[in-house]
Symmetry: C2
Subunit: 278 residues, 2 copies
Amino acid sequence: MATGRTHRPATRSRGIPEATVARLPLYLRALTALSERSVPTVSSEELAAAAGVNSAKLRKDFSYLGSYGTRGVGYDVEYLVYQISRELGLTQDWPVVIVGIGNLGAALANYGGFASRGFRVAALIDADPAMAGKPVAGIAVQHTDELEKIIKDNGVSIGVIATPAGAAQQVCDRLVAAGVTSILNFAPTVLTVPDGVDVRKVDLSIELQILAFHEQRKAGEDAGQDDGSDDARAVAAREARRAVREVREAAGKTAPDAPTGASDRKGPDGDVPAVMPA
Amino acid sequence: MATGRTHRPATRSRGIPEATVARLPLYLRALTALSERSVPTVSSEELAAAAGVNSAKLRKDFSYLGSYGTRGVGYDVEYLVYQISRELGLTQDWPVVIVGIGNLGAALANYGGFASRGFRVAALIDADPAMAGKPVAGIAVQHTDELEKIIKDNGVSIGVIATPAGAAQQVCDRLVAAGVTSILNFAPTVLTVPDGVDVRKVDLSIELQILAFHEQRKAGEDAGQDDGSDDARAVAAREARRAVREVREAAGKTAPDAPTGASDRKGPDGDVPAVMPA
DNA sequence: TCTTGTGAATAATTTCACAGCT
DNA sequence: AGCTGTGAAATTATTCACAAGA
């Protein structure tokens, strides 16, 4: 039994599950769209469809915020927009800095979704002196030297890192030292931060890799009638792996099929049944 | 265990948990870094630290792939790189198309993380005729008219949508009709696709909103415990909340414009609203 | 009617802790 | 000795299904 620090049974408003928090922006977006079309009320079913989730989940999520609906009617769109915005902290102004104004940084600076929520791009920062003064998205890029001053002058608590991986940790350290307590990291690297600092990461290639996994699985399942004896196949697969390993060990140090030269063209028809390794 | 359940969870053998799949790219990245430094073996503890997860989770994740480690020693880096790559389907070549070559699309096209994995940018597509022929990341942009032909000629099964929200669904429909079965969506909109098509979305502003939520919570909770967090917003936020509560209490049970009766039934106190947006 | 809000049931994921192999 | 692999426990998330209320 873990003793020691008692994590309180979650006070009402603070006990919002992380999974719910992650969906609130989704609901908010759907609600904003409805609001722009002047739709006055919406049912959980409709809103759930618009947000791409199921309605029971949506109602459960909302139940953590309070009772904001009307039975038999639905939810008042404007009211809900406001409540969710407030819950997410978007009724206040969040100045953010973007560090690393390459392609991605520029894209972020131009991204309308920030400004339309409570976010304001307070500054764009880049290490390249040649960038300094150049306007991106209507804002003059400033040099990294100014980082600490910018953070402090603007009361910035959220920083976005869009630098190359090699520079990310250093930038992160400086941001944190200057007072930033939330970081959105686009660089493909794991950042180390002190307690109390939040990091979220967006890795563009990770999402593609997850898609590839499912794509591969699709292709493999298409190739053969499934559902016969999954377990047998599982066992076989496992033994095959073990065998591969043994072969490898016997062979010394050379890796089996190098990840190179994989020229199998993936096509709609001629799929490689990649499920079972040879 | 050992109950004769009639219906087995259809995917037991290939049934790698989604949460695990989502972490495999993370492990792969950490392993690749080790590989580049010619580190021969790594323990679950070390690798977990490098990937930013805890070691029990990592071992559990790997256990779904098979027994690839050596007790008392750890994991062979090269071998594990290969196994995970294969599991993710990265040992084959995945041609992808990027549709919408604005700031973000260009950033994606230039993003090294794709090519270094099994992904190959087969084409860049944009609706703007003025873009046609212009080289981005060394590839000439093609017009949307060519979309179907490009997909078919290259056997593309993964599409990346980086268009404005308004165009996304239409582009999606065309991609799917042409044979794409996996879509990575950067447009801030929910895409509707037929069964069998996978969609993953990356919404830049959602991540920021989640950060804002935690940031706000930090500010509200750090009432007076930590060192001098002279955060004006923290104080403001807290007072705003208090004000809302006071207004609510003063107003008794009836909210101005709101669905009534949100008082005693389910009262997550502090946050029950009384203030309506205009 | 209709739809919300929510306990209870189910499923998924994480963490613990230690047996088993090197 | 040391580290993996994994059942079992704990935690978290989702779904069901229906009473309560407009």
